[in-house]
């Protein structure tokens, strides 16, 4: 093939193209767009929704209507994206989809963010000439999962969730069932999400164009707690939230809005504001110590990171035989919460274990399930983390509180348990946990700080960086670390380990492609794969430029916490508060049948 740039025409304008996988990408690069429901650049194209149809005139005069998401660009063609014919097709598609759609938009979780709603408005669909869905024909809504709600009446069968589940998690918990007008997307045999091997990562929700899969919204419950004078409500926010929340208020992806977020949380009425990044620093102290301990003993290697609740659930249900590899460290959220419940009463007046409510803002839907784990509940029935809200839910709270987020002045968070280092911040991107651990492990081994904090080999959140192998030289000790995102890659790593082909000592896993920056609870970004990169850049920028400390062990609040309470990493007290156990949940999983 020649390297020459080829050209085609879009609405009469000459456009160059090179190796774009399909016509739709060429159209987008040219600064135009066609509507689509099923095309998600990160997953296999499907051509199901027929919204992206365009009229193509070939040099030989032949005219055809094609779906632009499945058509490779060809030199010399003349593409019309707005001809009368294709606009009519799109409007008909919309009317047909709306005819058997539950159009109770005002009470829909997706209202305002729904692509079907958006295109129906843009295309001026005012009447639907087909018989519409009868209330009596409605299918039951599946609310069984702690994280997600599945409403088949709002499904348009674009198959994005089915593909995401298969291609990211290798799982295909969701699949098509039946045929023709009776087709449904559902777990096997129409079971509830809670009864199948779903890990609650929420990537199905992240790619869903309508309200068919939404997050289980708990905003009202948190408002009730805030408005309850008996309760002290404290908040912690995960690393990735600060670089994505701004998108909901017209700010650019990757812009760090942490100060605005603290301010908004105070205006909403949260009593104390802390940061999960502090928990991340704590995790590094514990996990790096645990890692070095195992390295010394040579037992249960490679060590698996345990921050990602979807990954933990995957191991528990699919590979309980590998649970010994999993770090006993809790996730940053679940480390900070018990510290708050234990130590706030000592540091702040009016706080007791009983009246303190911990709300965590997470980029993650699986965290909603994590906080309900029996291990994270005290003997008195009090959970460490009371509520988990996703980035999107928190954005909704800010909006409904009437806060002008764009212009609100940044504030500081409360101390202690608020100060954090750059190592805590980069937890949000795939590779970040391992990089942060490497910085502190280096210090623990050698007694001096690593010369270069930016270990670039760990970084990268795009499609080609889902599996990375990094070799570190800690003054003569060679350590190999593998970093994977998506459970497809994680499963391959497990196979490697079981076959004895793995030569690395640490395995970092994040279930969402690219890590938490692209989590299932983040604002919708499935149309643009660069958004996750911008968010990760935002985190690395905060790490490199904005923060005083870049290594977890240098965090003065962390040092103080160990001095005053925890003694030292992996001490008896930290085991009580910061470590956890795992359950074998193999029984009843799909794989149970195959044994």
């Amino acid at each position: 093939m020649s390297e020459d740039k080829k050209t085609l025409k879009i609405e009469g304008k000459e456009v160059e193209f090179t190796d774009e996988p399909n016509l739709l990408e060429v159209i987008r690069k040219a600064g135009m767009n066609v509507p689509t429901f099923c095309y998600r650049p990160d997953i296999t194209q499907f051509g199901a929704c027929r919204m992206c149809v365009v009229e193509v005139k070939y040099p030989n005069g032949r005219v055809m209507v094609n779906s632009s998401c499945t058509m490779p660009p060809e030199a010399g063609i003349d593409v019309s994206i707005n001809s009368k014919r294709v606009r009519k097709i799109r409007k008909t598609v919309l009317e047909l989809l709306l005819a058997n759609h539950d159009r109770e938009c005002t009470t829909c979780e997706k209202s305002g963010k729904c692509e079907l709603q958006k295109y129906a408005e843009e295309y001026g669909v005012s009447t639907i000439k087909y018989p519409t869905l009868d209330k009596k024909e409605m299918l039951p809504v599946d609310c069984s999962s702690p994280s997600l709600v599945r409403d088949p009446n709002k499904c348009i069968l674009c198959g994005a969730c089915v593909r995401a589940c298969q291609e990211y998690q290798g799982h295909a918990v969701l699949g098509f069932a039946n045929r023709g007008s009776r087709t449904l997307v559902q777990p096997m045999c129409g079971k509830d999400l809670a009864d199948v091997d779903c890990v609650y990562c929420g990537q199905c929700k992240a790619v869903c164009p309508t309200g068919a899969i939404t997050v289980k919204n708990e905003v009202d419950k948190v408002w009730d707690e805030i408005n309850n004078p008996e309760k002290k409500v404290v908040i912690q926010a995960a690393p990735s939230v600060r670089v994505a929340l701004g998108e909901m208020f017209g700010l650019s992806a990757g812009e760090n809005v942490i100060g605005k977020m603290y301010a908004a949380a105070r205006r909403i009425g949260f009593d104390l504001i802390f940061d999960t990044n502090f928990g991340a620093d704590l995790t590094i102290m514990e996990e790096a110590t645990e890692f070095l301990g195992r390295l010394k003993e040579g037992k249960n290697l490679p060590l698996f990171t345990s921050c990602c609740p979807a990954w933990v659930r995957y191991l528990e249900t699919q590979h309980p035989e590998m649970l010994a590899h999993l770090s006993t460290c809790r996730s940053p959220m679940s480390m900070l919460s018990p510290v708050l419940k234990k130590l706030l009463p000592q540091n702040f007046e009016g706080y007791t274990r009983e009246n303190t409510v911990v709300v965590a803002i997470m980029p993650c839907t699986a965290k909603k399930a994590e906080c309900k784990r029996p291990q994270f509940k005290g003997d008195d029935g009090i959970y460490d983390t009371d509520y988990v809200l996703t980035t999107e839910e928190f954005g909704q709270m800010i909006k409904s509180a009437g806060i002008d987020f764009k212009n609100i002045e940044a504030e500081e968070c409360d101390s202690p348990y608020g100060q954090y280092t750059g190592a805590g911040t980069i937890f949000g991107a795939s590779g970040g946990v391992a990089e942060a651990a490497a910085r502190t492990a280096y210090y623990f081994v050698t007694g001096e700080n690593i010369a270069n904090n930016d270990i670039l080999e760990f970084r990268g959140v795009d499609k080609h960086s889902r599996s990375k192998l990094i070799e570190l030289d800690i003054k003569g000790t060679k350590v190999k670390i593998k970093v994977v995102s998506t459970l497809v890659e994680a499963e391959m790593a497990i196979q490697e380990i079981q076959d004895g082909r793995a030569d690395y000592q640490l395995l970092e896993v994040m279930a969402c492609p690219g890590g938490c920056v692209n989590g299932g609870g983040q604002p919708i970004s499935c149309d643009d794969i660069t958004i996750r990169e911008q968010r990760a850049d935002g985190l690395y920028k905060e790490d490199a430029k904005d923060l005083q400390f870049r290594r977890s062990h240098e965090n003065p609040d962390i040092v103080k916490l160990y001095d005053e309470y925890l003694e030292k990493p992996n001490s008896h007290k930290s085991h009580e508060l910061l470590h956890t156990t795992y359950d074998d949940k193999f029984k009843g999983s799909y794989k149970d049948v195959t044994k």
């Binding site: 799982h171 295909a172 699949g175 559902q186 096997m188 199948v196 799909y590 195959t594």
Partner: protein, 163 residues
């Protein structure tokens, strides 16, 4: 919705190996499993979906519900296929179908008899239009059926069974 039954996974392993174990052979595998159990038990579908590369239980369920040839309910010992294609229809397949329904004791809304002996389905064409109307029972073709003739056929089977 789907019936639970103890499934012999060794047998299914044999079927998978016999068919080549590739994802593209799924339909053949499901057909063979259905031959053994006369339907597709849930556990068999989960097993195939978890065991075979590139498939999941939900995908297998999707294939099983897409094709009319697969049944999620146990089929009868005698599978009656009554053709209602164009030729059979105009030559009177409906009275034949009604006669079968009247003669056998089907549960409301189900097409398998209570004793599990017979199951009934209508098919669109068996490719034997010259013999219309056609009924096929367990691969045996009964040509030029009438409502009286089909009763005799069923009665003969019942007599055999009751011996």
């Amino acid at each position: 919705m789907v019936c639970k039954e103890t499934v012999d996974f060794k047998k299914i392993d044999e079927i998978i190996t016999e068919c080549g174990g590739k994802k593209s052979n799924l339909i053949a595998i499901l057909q063979k499993v259905q031959e053994v159990y006369r339907y597709l038990p849930e556990d068999a579908m989960i097993y195939i979906g978890s065991k075979m590369e590139g498939l999941s239980p939900a995908t297998v369920f999707g294939v099983a519900t897409f094709y009319a040839q697969f049944s999620l309910d146990p089929k009868g010992k005698y599978e009656i296929k009554c053709c209602d294609g164009t030729a059979c229809h105009v030559r009177g397949s409906m009275p034949v179908l009604n006669a079968i329904k009247a003669r056998l004791d089907f549960e409301e809304g189900k097409l398998t008899t209570k004793d599990g002996l017979f199951s009934l389905e209508t098919v669109s064409c068996l490719g034997a239009c010259g013999l219309a109307p056609v009924v096929v029972i367990n691969d045996k073709v009964y040509p030029q059926m009438t409502s009286d003739a089909i009763k005799v056929v069923i009665d003969t089977i019942l007599q055999e069974e009751n011996k």
